[in-house]
């Protein structure tokens, strides 16, 4: 682990963060029909320097919204997020620019994240230009960034356009763009979900390698525990805007505690023809963020739900090495 002793150990501190959206528009509001979607609803966690944390959950669980809050691409509607001791809500103007160079996003779909009309050189020059890096230094920085993500013979890529690169190569360019300003903190949002299995491993290996070499603090957002396990030592499981379980990834893989985590772990297919085909311990249906159940948001799909789950929101409680938000613990 790459902890610099002078600085405080915690890089990111999230306290009761909320991101509520008003949906339904003006007409619905007039008729009193607008609703609030609680994309993130009272989430608390700290991330230490050099730590890699997986944000795990299904679509609509708030994992991407949480990532956007951490990067100040969205402002919280409640609670607070501190980055290196500074409250993100207070970060403005030139300090925002500074923050942007320290915290970066690695996008999900490399084909959407890069302007198809920009050459790779132009794509990678842009952040340098924004950060005020003199023209004379840029080429050198670009080559170094491409070497960092292990694109062989980087010079040959500079004048190419995105469509001339394979998906795996393009995702490395996306990574290079996020890393070119030497950030301390990166949020990777499902960075390999669009890639073929045979090249996925290569991109994940680069991600791990770069993170270790630069001592990055990283958030890896995914719905696939097998991928999170490969890159993160700690995992936070989210469901409908709340944290269900938070702890060391290996513990979660081998002995999930929260009923939702149990279902998630059981659902991951493994390349083994002898695996179990037991029904998943979870109710059918997708979570509806407009209309979450009272009490525990997971209770309507939970096989162990009881009366207390409807009346009282379970708070995260320490269980061994973990925090679990469930009345069973």
């Amino acid at each position: 682990m790459n902890i610099v002793t002078k600085k405080p150990e915690v890089l990111v501190s999230v306290h009761e963060a909320r991101l509520h959206y008003q949906v339904g528009g003006a007409f619905a509001a007039m008729r009193g029909k607008s609703t609030v979607v609680k994309a993130v609803d009272g989430v608390t966690f700290d991330i230490r320097r050099g730590e890699s944390v997986g944000l795990l959950g299904e679509s609509g669980c708030g994992k991407t919204s949480m990532g956007r809050l951490l990067l100040k691409l969205e402002d919280t509607t409640g609670g607070s997020i501190h980055f290196d001791g500074e409250e993100l809500g207070e970060v403005r103007r030139h300090r925002l620019k500074k923050f942007r160079s320290r915290a970066q996003l690695i996008f999900q779909n490399p084909f959407d994240a890069i302007n198809p009309r920009f050459t790779i050189r132009a794509t990678l020059s842009e952040p340098l230009e924004n950060a005020g890096i003199p023209r004379s230094e840029r080429e050198d920085r670009i080559i170094k960034a491409l070497e960092l993500v292990r694109l062989p013979e980087p010079e040959q890529f500079l004048d190419r356009y995105p469509h001339q690169l394979s998906g795996g190569q393009l995702q490395r360019v996306v990574m290079a763009r996020a890393l070119i300003l030497q950030p301390e903190f990166v949020v990777a949002d499902e960075p390999v979900s669009m890639l073929d299995v045979s090249v996925r491993a290569g991109v994940l290996n680069v991600f791990r390698d770069v993170r270790d070499r630069l001592g990055l603090t990283a958030i890896y957002i995914s719905h696939d525990l097998a991928l999170v396990r490969y890159v993160c030592e700690r995992t936070i499981v989210m469901y409908l805007g709340r944290i269900m379980e938070d702890g060391p990834t290996e513990d979660i893989v081998h002995e999930p505690l929260h009923p939702y985590t149990k279902a998630l772990v059981a659902a991951v297919p493994v390349p083994n023809p002898d695996q179990s085909h037991d029904p998943l311990p979870i109710g059918r249906g997708a979570p509806d963020p407009r209309n979450p159940p009272s009490g525990c948001v997971f209770r309507d799909r939970c096989p162990s739900a009881h009366a207390r789950c409807a009346s009282e929101v379970p708070q995260p409680r320490p269980v061994g090495s973990r925090l679990v938000a469930c009345h069973l613990f």
């Binding site: 299904e58 679509s59 394979s166 998906g167 795996g168 073929d196 299995v197 045979s198 090249v199 996925r200 491993a201 290569g202 991109v203 994940l204 290996n205 719905h223 696939d224 525990l225 097998a226 991928l227 396990r229 490969y230 290996e250 893989v253 279902a263 998630l264 772990v265 059981a266 659902a267 991951v268 297919p269 493994v270 390349p271 083994n272 023809p273 695996q275 085909h277 029904p279 998943l280 979870i282 059918r284 997708a286």
Partner: protein
């Protein structure tokens, strides 16, 4: 193996792109036994979707079946007149296209769309169609009172269930599903797969599941056909393909997969490089540029070798596969070429 339901022999499909031809499927042969689920696996651009579409002859305007046979119940679908082929679709062979959203029309209710198939193709009247629709919804686990809903009112997983109901409408013998669970979350994915398997067993269906995800195949398929660059690299039972993969590409795929059961410290090994451009494929074995075991002989067309009964492999070194498997399990083997 009993008499196959479908037998594909040396199938060739080409796309015309400008003045050149892309041979997306270049001599594919495999059998689909009755009452089995077969996984058609491979990465993007390997020709798996083209094969699936060619089986129902629903291919792009610039594509054509240029050779080979598709034998289905004694008839060659590749040469069947369009009118007879059309009579076969839905009734004998149903196709579930990639992403359920694309197979459903957003401006009609789901009942209307089911009814269209049931009345036009199944010759049912309105009342029979309604009854069958309710039956179908019950089969795929959706409440019948949602029949009047529009596609956007369903979640992704539910839409996929609707697409499966649609495919089942006229009791086909074979269902071809193109990446049916790719866009879905793990939990929904698993529930859909369980549903599909349950229906397949109950109705005695044959299913071809097109996917890039070998773990999905391992979960529900009995058999697999592994494609690479327009050719079938290897085919056989699931057990054979996973425990004794005999084509270096299949061996490589096994290594590239993150696994919840394996050791935590395990390192994933990618297959370096990318599949060849099919407008101008390399001579000989198409996997040669990425293969750690390539020899000079691989520059010539590889033979199909039966490494075991019902387990053909397209590789010059297929007979050495037991030894190659040991080498292929080591990361260094694949890194050496990088």
């Amino acid at each position: 193996m009993t008499e196959p339901l479908l037998s594909v022999r040396d199938l060739r499909v080409s796309y015309q792109v400008g003045r050149s031809f892309v041979h997306a499927v270049d001599g594919a042969s495999f059998d689909i036994p009755k009452g089995s689920i077969t996984g058609l696996v491979g990465e993007s651009g390997c020709g798996k979707t083209t094969v699936a579409r060619a089986l129902t002859r629903v291919i792009a305007d610039n594509a054509a079946i240029t050779g080979g046979e598709i034998l289905f119940e004694g008839r060659d679908l590749a040469k069947l007149p369009e009118r007879e082929m059309n009579a076969l679709r839905w009734r004998d062979i149903a196709f579930v296209p990639q992403s359920a959203m694309n197979s459903l029309d957003p401006v009609y209710t789901v009942e209307y769309q089911l009814g269209e198939v049931l009345r036009r193709r199944g010759g049912m009247d309105r009342r029979q169609a309604r009854k069958r629709s309710e039956e179908l919804f019950e089969m795929v686990g959706i409440d019948a009172n949602r029949l009047n809903d529009y596609p956007h009112q369903f979640s992704g997983g539910m839409r996929q269930r609707v697409a499966i109901a649609l495919a089942l409408a006229l009791n086909p013998k074979l269902i071809i599903a193109d990446e049916p669970v790719t866009a879905l979350d793990v939990i929904v994915q698993r529930q859909i797969l369980d549903q599909l398997k349950e229906l397949q067993v109950r109705l005695g269906l044959s299913v071809i599941l097109v996917t890039h995800d070998i773990s999905v195949v391992a979960y529900i398929c009995d058999r697999t056909v592994v494609m690479y660059a327009g050719k079938v690299a290897e085919s056989g039972t699931m057990q054979a393909a996973l425990t004794a993969p005999s084509h270096p590409y299949t061996m490589g795929l096994r290594n590239a997969f993150p696994d919840l059961q394996g050791a935590a410290s395990g390192v994933l090994t990618p297959i370096e490089g990318a599949p060849p451009n099919l407008a101008n494929p390399p001579a000989g074995c198409r996997f040669k540029p990425r293969c750690p075991f390539a020899l000079d002989v691989c520059g010539s067309e590889p033979p199909v070798v039966d490494v075991a009964p019902d387990h053909p492999v397209l590789c010059h070194r297929a007979r050495e596969s037991a030894a190659l498997r040991i080498e292929a399990a080591k990361t260094e083997t694949w890194m050496a070429r990088a």
